[in-house]
C-alpha cells in the first residue's frame, strides 16, 4: 500500500512543502512572528478550547480566527483585503474536501483560491501567503499543527515589496490636492 504521508501535508493542498522554503529563507526567519488572519467555517474544526475571547488562537497568538457560516461564504477579495491591510498571511479552513456540510462550499473556495493565487502573483504578492486547510469537527490537534506549519511557512517568506496597488492618498496623480482616501464611492467632484 502506498504511503500517503501525514495528514497535514496531504490535506493542505495549495502550498509547497515547508522544508523547501525553510532552506531558502534560513533558520532565523521563523523568529519573526507573522500576522495571520484565518477564516474558520462554523461546521469544520470546532473552535472550542483553541480560541481565546478575542479570536486569537490559544497556542498561536499571532493567528486570529474569524468564524464564517461556510468556507464558500468567503470572497477572495477579503483574503486580498487582509493581505493589503497588514496581515502577512491568510488561510481558509473548511470541512474535509468532499464532505462539506453545505455540500459544495469547500470545493468552491478551493477553486476560487487557486484562481486568486495567479492574481496575487501578478501583483507581486507571494501566493504562498494564502492557504487552504480542511479538517473535520474533532480534528483540532491536526488543525493547530497545520496552522502552525502555515504560520512558519509564511514567516520564512521574504518580506513583500511595498505595495504599489494601494497608492498613498496624498500623491494620487488623478487628484493631487484631494486628500480623500481611495474607495469604491469617490467623493463628488468639485467644479
Amino acid at each position: 500500500m502506498p504511503e500517503l504521508g501525514p495528514p497535514p501535508k496531504s490535506q493542505s493542498q495549495s502550498a509547497p512543502a515547508p522544508d523547501v522554503l525553510a532552506r531558502a529563507a534560513g533558520p532565523g526567519a521563523a523568529a519573526r512572528r507573522p500576522k495571520i488572519v484565518g477564516f474558520l467555517c462554523d461546521w469544520a474544526v470546532s473552535a472550542d478550547g483553541i480560541v481565546r475571547e478575542d479570536g486569537t488562537m490559544r497556542d498561536l497568538p499571532n493567528v486570529t480566527l474569524i468564524k464564517v457560516p461556510c468556507s464558500g461564504f468567503i470572497r477572495p477579495s477579503w483574503l486580498e483585503f487582509a493581505l493589503k491591510n497588514g496581515a502577512d498571511g491568510t488561510f481558509v479552513c473548511g470541512c474535509p474536501l468532499g464532505d462539506c456540510f453545505n455540500r459544495l462550499g469547500n470545493n468552491l473556495i478551493q477553486d476560487r483560491v487557486t484562481q486568486m493565487r495567479r492574481r496575487l502573483e501578478r501583483q507581486k504578492i507571494q501566493p504562498d501567503r494564502v492557504g487552504t486547510i480542511y479538517y473535520g469537527l474533532h480534528e483540532q490537534e491536526q488543525f493547530v499543527a497545520a496552522v502552525r506549519e502555515f504560520s512558519d511557512r509564511v514567516a520564512q517568506l521574504p518580506a513583500p515589496p511595498p505595495p504599489p496597488a494601494r497608492r498613498p492618498a496624498g500623491v494620487s496623480p488623478a487628484k493631487p490636492s484631494d486628500g480623500s482616501p481611495p474607495g469604491p464611492t469617490p467623493a463628488p467632484e468639485e467644479p
Binding site: 486570529t64 457560516p69 464558500g72 461564504f73 470572497r75 455540500r103 462550499g105 469537527l137
Partner: protein, 385 residues
C-alpha cells in the same frame, strides 16, 4: 439524551472518515458517495430487470418455470439473475449507509428536510420492491411470504381483510396474485425515479454517480458474487406441501423474521412507528441557530442595484435557492444597466450558508446580519491587534 447520543455518533462517523481518508484520497472516500452508489445500483437493477422482464410470465403455474428457464436455458440468464439479486442487496446496503450517515452528520437541518423525507420514502419503497421481488420467484419462500403478509394485514382491526384483498386480489392464493405482484415490483421502481426527482430538486450538482473506480468495483463485486454464488430458487410452491421454514434474507425480510417474536398486529404498529419516526427526525431538534452557537446571518438578499444577471450565484448555490428571472428594470451600476436577468432568492430553500456571497463578484448579494463590511471590520481589527 438524544442530543448526546447524536453527538457521539457524529464523532464516530467523522473518526471513520478520517480512517478511510488515510487509505484513500478524500475524493475517493466511498462514504462520501453513498448517494451516487445507490444510484449506480438502481441503474444496474433497472437494466438487469428489463432483461428478466422479457422472459418472466406472471401466472400461477408458469412463474416458477420461467424463472428456472431464465436460469438454465437463457444465455447468461443465471448471471443476469444473480446481478439483479445481488445489486438489490447492494442497493439496500448503500441506502442504509446514506441514511445513517446523513442522520448522524445532521444533514437534515434548516431547509434540508425535503431531501430527508423523500429519502425516507425511497427507503420504504426500496424495501417494498425487494419483498415483491421475492414473491415473483414463486418458490416456497414466496408462498410463505404471501401467507405471512396476508395474516399480518388481516390482523389490522377493521380494514385488515379489505387491505389484504386489495394487495393479493382476494383471500388465499388467486390467479390475480402474481400479475399484481409484478405490477407492484415494476410500478414502484418507476415511482423511485419520481421520488428521486423530489430528492434532487433542491440540490444543485448532486453527486449522482460515484467515481469510476467505485463504479467498476461495485460492478465487479456484483458480477463475482453472481458467478460464485448463483442466485437460486427454493422448491416450487405448491398448495399440497406448505412450507414451514423461512429462508432468511436479513436485508429485506427482517420484518418477517421478527414475526417469530411479535404478533402481526404489533409488527405493523412497530413498523408504522419506525417509519413515522423516520419522517419526524428532521423536526425532532427544533434548535435555532442561537441555540447551536451560530450567528443569525439572515436569508441572503439580492442588492437589486448591483445585480448584473451573470448567473454565477445561480450556478454555485448548492440548494437551488437562487433562480434567475427576467429583469423588470435595469440596475443602477454601470455593469448592471444592460442586464437581462435578475437573481431571486427563494427564502424557503435558503440555509444562510452564504456561498452565493462568495460567488458574486459584483457585491450584489449579502447576508443581512453579516455584511461584507462586518467581515472587513473584523479583518482590520485582527490586523491591528
Amino acid at each position: 439524551m438524544y442530543r448526546r447520543l447524536l453527538a457521539s455518533l457524529l464523532r464516530w462517523t467523522l473518526r471513520l472518515d478520517v480512517g478511510i481518508n488515510r487509505v484513500y484520497p478524500a475524493d475517493f472516500n466511498p462514504l462520501y458517495y453513498t448517494g451516487g452508489l445507490s444510484n449506480l445500483f438502481l441503474t444496474i437493477l433497472i437494466l438487469s430487470g428489463l432483461f428478466l422482464f422479457f422472459y418472466y410470465v406472471p401466472s400461477y403455474n408458469e412463474a416458477y418455470t420461467t424463472v428456472q428457464y431464465i436460469s438454465e436455458r437463457v444465455p447468461y440468464g443465471q448471471i443476469i439473475r444473480g446481478i439483479h439479486r445481488y445489486s438489490a442487496d447492494g442497493f439496500m446496503i448503500v441506502i442504509l449507509l446514506h441514511f445513517f450517515r446523513n442522520w448522524f452528520t445532521e444533514r437534515f437541518r434548516f431547509s434540508r428536510d425535503e431531501p430527508w423525507i423523500s429519502g425516507m420514502m425511497l427507503l420504504v419503497f426500496a424495501g417494498f420492491i425487494g419483498v415483491t421481488g421475492y414473491v415473483l420467484v414463486w418458490d416456497q419462500r414466496a408462498e410463505l411470504l404471501v401467507v405471512m403478509t396476508g395474516n399480518a394485514l388481516a390482523a389490522i382491526p377493521g380494514v385488515g381483510g379489505w387491505l389484504r384483498n386489495l394487495l393479493f386480489g382476494g383471500p388465499g392464493l388467486t390467479n390475480l396474485l402474481l400479475p399484481r405482484m409484478l405490477f407492484l415490483h415494476v410500478g414502484p421502481a418507476v415511482l423511485l425515479y419520481v421520488l428521486l426527482w423530489w430528492h434532487y430538486v433542491r440540490l444543485r450538482h448532486p453527486k449522482v454517480w460515484p467515481p469510476a473506480v467505485w463504479t467498476l468495483f461495485s460492478l465487479g463485486v456484483v458480477l463475482l458474487l453472481s458467478g460464485l454464488i448463483p442466485a437460486a430458487s427454493q422448491p416450487q410452491a405448491s398448495p399440497t406441501t406448505p412450507p414451514r421454514q423461512l429462508a432468511v434474507d436479513w436485508l429485506f425480510l427482517l420484518p418477517y423474521v421478527s414475526l417469530k417474536y411479535l404478533t402481526p398486529l404489533w409488527l405493523i404498529v412497530l413498523a408504522t412507528v419506525i417509519i413515522v419516526y423516520g419522517l419526524y427526525i428532521p423536526y425532532q431538534l427544533p434548535e435555532t441557530r442561537a441555540e447551536l452557537g451560530l450567528r443569525e446571518s439572515g436569508i441572503a438578499q439580492v442588492i437589486d442595484a448591483n445585480c448584473t444577471g451573470c448567473e454565477l450565484c445561480y450556478y454555485d448555490c448548492p440548494y437551488n435557492a437562487i433562480v434567475m428571472a427576467p429583469s423588470p428594470h435595469p440596475g443602477v451600476t454601470k455593469a448592471a444597466q444592460a442586464r437581462k436577468l435578475l437573481a431571486i432568492v427563494l427564502e424557503s430553500r435558503c440555509v444562510e450558508c452564504g456561498i452565493c456571497i462568495g460567488a458574486c463578484p459584483f457585491e450584489a448579494l449579502e447576508l443581512p446580519h453579516f455584511l461584507e463590511q462586518d467581515v472587513q471590520a473584523k479583518v482590520l481589527a485582527a490586523c491591528r491587534s
